[in-house]
């Protein structure tokens, strides 16, 4: 087990380093970051001056090394636009995004798992069809559009919920639904498929044969085994959701890290963009690492692969 964790940790660190290099290199995609920063009206001397101030005149690998060294100590430089340290800027905004992410994945799990189980107990029943419809519709629904529809319907026509902002818990209801619905279809399908497979297995027949009650069979024997892959999928989805919160946050004007990403990208605020890409990637890497370890702990067969 320890060997598995160490191997998996080594891989996670390597992936993190590669991602950090890519997110740093994005800055150089434009060819000349100093010119991009200075804007179209800047003179040659202004660009030259900026180049020296920000150290763009040094070799790229040297700049990367320094950036990474500073980033490891929690220093991501200063935002070009806000003129504040990027690290504190992001730290301020991250709580909104994390709240949204946790609410979103909770909503997704609370709807997807019961639906998936109910659908698997009675395949082709009405509830199975409803579940299938919800998941197929969810995969095709543009989340920004779904958000706007909810705003018009519940925020304005009915006036039940505040249409934008983040000051109370009621502001998080619609964004949670939109973000959660994005993750729900995959979780629902996996729960259903897992339950169907488990319910046909020998140990369920044994459990029934020895006279265990149906509730006990379903939840103690079946769901506990079917839920293992769902745990790692939920972790992966959580990582995707934090990255995907950029769309939801901009629709609902939630001033979280996703909204900050959108603002910084639109304003060419490269240090902030680099840091955000890196941080969102780190969340994904950490979540999947934890999920793999949890899986290996629950299911020893996973440790060998």
């Amino acid at each position: 087990m320890l060997q598995f964790i160490l191997k998996r940790l080594g891989l996670a660190v390597l992936v993190a380093l590669t991602v950090s290099f890519i997110s740093f290199s994005l800055l150089f995609l434009s060819g000349d970051p100093a010119a991009a920063l200075a804007g179209e009206t800047a003179s040659g001397e202004d660009i030259e001056a900026l180049r020296r101030v920000y150290g763009f005149d040094r070799p790229m690998l040297v700049q990367y090394g320094e950036w990474l060294w500073q980033a490891l100590q929690g220093n991501f430089g200063e935002s070009y636009y806000f003129k504040l340290p990027v690290a504190s800027l992001i730290a301020d905004r991250l709580s909104v995004t994390m709240t949204l992410g946790v609410c979103g994945i909770t909503f997704a799990l609370l709807t997807a798992v019961p639906l998936g189980v109910a659908a698997a107990i009675k395949p082709n029943s009405l509830i199975d069809r409803v579940a299938l419809f919800l998941s197929v519709a969810g995969q095709a629904m543009p989340s920004f559009w779904f958000g706007l529809i909810l705003i018009v319907l519940f925020g304005i026509q009915l006036g039940w919920l505040p249409p934008s902002g983040a000051s109370t818990w009621r502001h998080f209801i619609m964004p949670t639904i939109v973000l959660g619905y994005y993750a729900m279809p995959a979780i629902m399908r996996l729960t259903r498929a897992g339950m169907l497979e488990v319910l046909n297995s020998d140990y369920i027949r044994t459990a029934r044969a020895k006279g265990a009650g149906e509730g006990r069979v379903l939840f103690k024997h079946a769901l506990r085994n079917a839920i293992i892959p769902v745990v790692s999928l939920a972790a992966v989805q959580m990582g995707f959701m934090l990255g995907g919160s950029i769309v939801v946050e901009s629709v609902f004007a939630l001033h979280g890290a996703g909204y900050l990403a959108w603002e910084s990208i639109a304003r060419n605020d490269l240090p902030t963009v680099q840091a955000l890409i890196l941080i969102f990637s780190m969340f994904y890497i950490i979540f999947t690492f934890l999920a793999d370890v949890l899986n290996a702990w629950l299911d020893p067969r996973m440790r060998s692969s």
Binding site: V19, L29, A140, I265
Partner: protein, 300 residues
């Protein structure tokens, strides 16, 4: 003659229907697949015939005729779906928007398909170090937040159709690589591959004529699903203002432009969103249907 008539059904009972008959039966019995293929075909024809079908020029502005209501809300047939905030005919923009979505979806899925298939097949076929490198690259790719990276790249390089297609094509290869790797691993140990290797077929030949035809079914399914993914992402990027740029008629951009008038004219947001939803739904149903029909054992 009489004997023949008795023998035929009997023969069929003994030999069973041939694979083509089974396939035809499965296809015609699969409502989702038929619906998906039908809708996609109709939208494809609309996109191709856009210049003929569109009642107006999608770019022609008429500020005196702004936000005319659609015909079902009391408008006239002159503009069946009304006009937008610049007085452009909404139906014509919608029709031309189908071109943008289908073009981006198809080309991005093809680019990522080539990259992902090459990586996945190489990893599955050669194994060892190649497999380790490809698996690592898949991990790196999955760790990068797609929307964020795509937005950043489009912001730096500028939002043209080519840039959006290129970015999506270079980002969406992960599922191809994962599925093609797994499919190749399954196929590579089969007897016909060993037979081809035994008679001295070269590696490219084994891959192209033994492996590829046997994993093509899975490939087609992923192509459709990734096409839907690319179309949704393009719409999201355009909605955020960092995808296809105005005045190009993109459905995501139309939702974004209609957003400001959403309170008074909700149809400006509703119509392009519904069309986008239907297209993506149809492509997904097509993909799911193809999987059910070609490999019913993998049904989820």
């Amino acid at each position: 003659m009489a004997l023949q008539r008795i023998a035929d059904p009997l023969l069929e009972e003994i030999t069973g229907p041939n694979p083509r008959q089974i396939l035809r039966k499965r296809v015609t019995g699969h409502a989702g697949l038929l619906f998906g293929v039908g809708v996609v075909l109709v939208l494809l024809i609309i996109a191709i015939l856009a210049p003929v079908l569109a009642p107006h020029d999608p770019y022609a502005q008429n500020l005196a005729n702004r936000m005319v209501k659609p015909v079902f809300m009391g408008g006239t047939w002159e503009h069946p779906l009304g006009t937008d905030h610049l007085g452009r005919d909404y139906l014509s923009r919608l029709i031309y928007g189908a071109r943008v979505s289908l073009l981006i979806g198809t080309v991005a899925a093809l680019i990522s398909g080539v990259i992902g298939t090459a990586m996945g097949v190489a990893a599955g076929y050669f194994g060892g170090k190649v497999d380790a490198v490809v698996t690592f690259l898949i991990n790196v790719r999955l760790a990068m937040p797609v929307v964020l990276v795509a937005l950043a790249v489009v912001a730096i390089l500028g939002g043209s159709l080519q840039v959006v297609i290129g970015v999506l094509g270079l980002l969406l290869w992960d599922r191809f690589a994962v599925v093609m790797r797994a499919s190749t691993l399954q196929v590579r140990r089969r007897e016909y591959v060993a037979a081809a290797q035994a008679i001295g077929a070269s590696t490219p030949r084994v891959i192209l004529s033994e492996i590829m035809p046997n994993i093509a079914n899975n490939l087609i399914v992923i192509v459709t699903l990734e096409m839907a993914h690319a179309i949704l992402l393009e719409a999201a990027l355009s909605f955020l203002g960092l995808g296809v740029q105005p005045p190009t008629p993109s459905w995501g951009l139309m939702v974004s432009e209609g957003k400001n008038m959403m309170l008074f004219e909700p149809w400006l947001v509703l119509i392009p969103g519904i069309v986008l939803f239907i297209l993506v739904l149809a492509i997904n149903l097509m993909g799911d249907g193809l999987r059910d029909v070609t490999a019913p054992e993998n049904r989820s």
